[in-house]
Point group: C2
DNA sequence: TAGATTGTTAATCGATTAACAATC
DNA sequence: TAGATTGTTAATCGATTAACAATC
């Protein structure tokens, strides 16, 4: 019954649950119901219960979910109960931001290698990591058993970087470049291109320049 | 027939269409079919046609879509045919990255004001913009008619920043902080929290530590 | 004309929500 | 026991895909 085939929508909610649960844990809340989670996250409680039930029976009828236990379980599901090593290419401002974030986060995702294509950047240090040349990428990824690659280079260099990650046998790529990358089926790719977020946000602006136009609803 | 009620899924695809069309335009491609777009984007052609048809008849039967015309139309739909002003709070590495991006992008989204809560940052310059204190936020947003706010501060400060944006009458917020923000219904909020992207990516790793387990499919 | 491709309706598929027995 | 809340099945809702007439 395990792994019935979980939809992407479900997987994307898991980190959100984790975030709220972590906050609750900090506030020393022991137990939470799907109802309460639903209010906090603006989600239907049934959906939350169903999401969790795909992976096991984590709650107790009449009681709710134990916060600590549920955190542990979701971390297992997301595979961040172990440390997952991450490589980053692109030692610009965005790369710096991600590396710094790394320091404070307790998510078990650890950036352990940083690369850059530009000779000027190589050898400098970010968050105690020496920036390495691209020529070291494949070797380093293999040796350190790095599983995820982050791309924070300009769009025109992104596919090249992806290709090197693929050659090195990376399993997942988080791409910040505004480019559509071609990767083999077995490599998972997530795009985190904020320009697209901004553009879709712009869509929802207005009812202002154009006045409140509720005349042709049907 | 206009604005039948467009689903979020549709809106989120529009910037992707725009990106590919822009690329095609650079390569001087004049006309494109939903078929071709579908191949490039790994989407069903019928879906692309349907998405576009929500907003008007942009194509020509037997021919396809004129690239330049479709770009223009999608920009109108997304309201980026006009310049949209954006304010950013948090002059850290991420804030820098977004401001720089600004320079190169021709998306008509323009960051015109940068703020920070920390006195040490105030007065420094990012991409020709003086970093202003939070006390100037409301006034600046109103005066400059800024419509979108970007939040790149630590999680614990994010809600405060959001509240100030709301007070200033902002219409949309792009939040990079790993925090769930409460905003009034009329303010649109998009979360661009990359930790969640990384965590959901981690879910898809593996079939490696655990061996290829195809035994209990049904 | 024949081939291509749109816009759109109908069919399918999948995700969300409601409802409720089980049980703490 | 009575009240609360889960896990899960059934009902609903919405999104994707197929199919095709219209037409370039």
């Amino acid at each position: 019954m395990k792994q019935a085939k979980i939809s992407e929508a479900v997987v994307r909610r898991l980190p959100i649950y984790l975030q709220v649960l972590n906050e609750m844990h900090l506030r020393e809340i022991q137990t939470v119901s799907s109802q309460e989670l639903g209010v906090k996250l603006d989600l239907n409680p049934a959906q939350i219960r169903k999401d969790l039930a795909y992976f096991g029976e984590f709650g107790r009828k009449g009681i709710g979910y134990d916060v600590v236990y549920l955190i542990e379980k979701i971390r297992q599901i997301l595979k961040v109960d172990q440390t997952i090593k991450v490589a980053l290419v692109g030692a610009g401002n965005l790369g710096h931001a991600l590396c710094n974030y790394n320091k404070y986060s307790k998510d078990n995702m650890q950036i352990t290698a940083v690369f850059d294509v530009h000779p000027g950047k190589i050898g400098s240090s970010i968050n105690n990591l020496r920036v390495l040349p691209m020529s070291e990428l494949v070797k380093t990824v293999e040796e350190q058993k790095i599983r995820i690659g982050i791309i924070t280079v300009p769009a025109f260099e992104a596919q090249n970087v992806a290709n090197q990650f693929i050659e090195a046998g990376i399993e997942g790529i988080l791409n910040f470049a505004p480019a559509i990358l071609r990767v083999p089926e077995e490599v998972r790719i997530h795009n985190a291109d904020f320009t697209k977020e901004l553009l879709s946000l712009a869509y929802y602006l207005g009812r202002e320049g154009d006045a409140q136009d509720e005349s042709d609803l049907d």
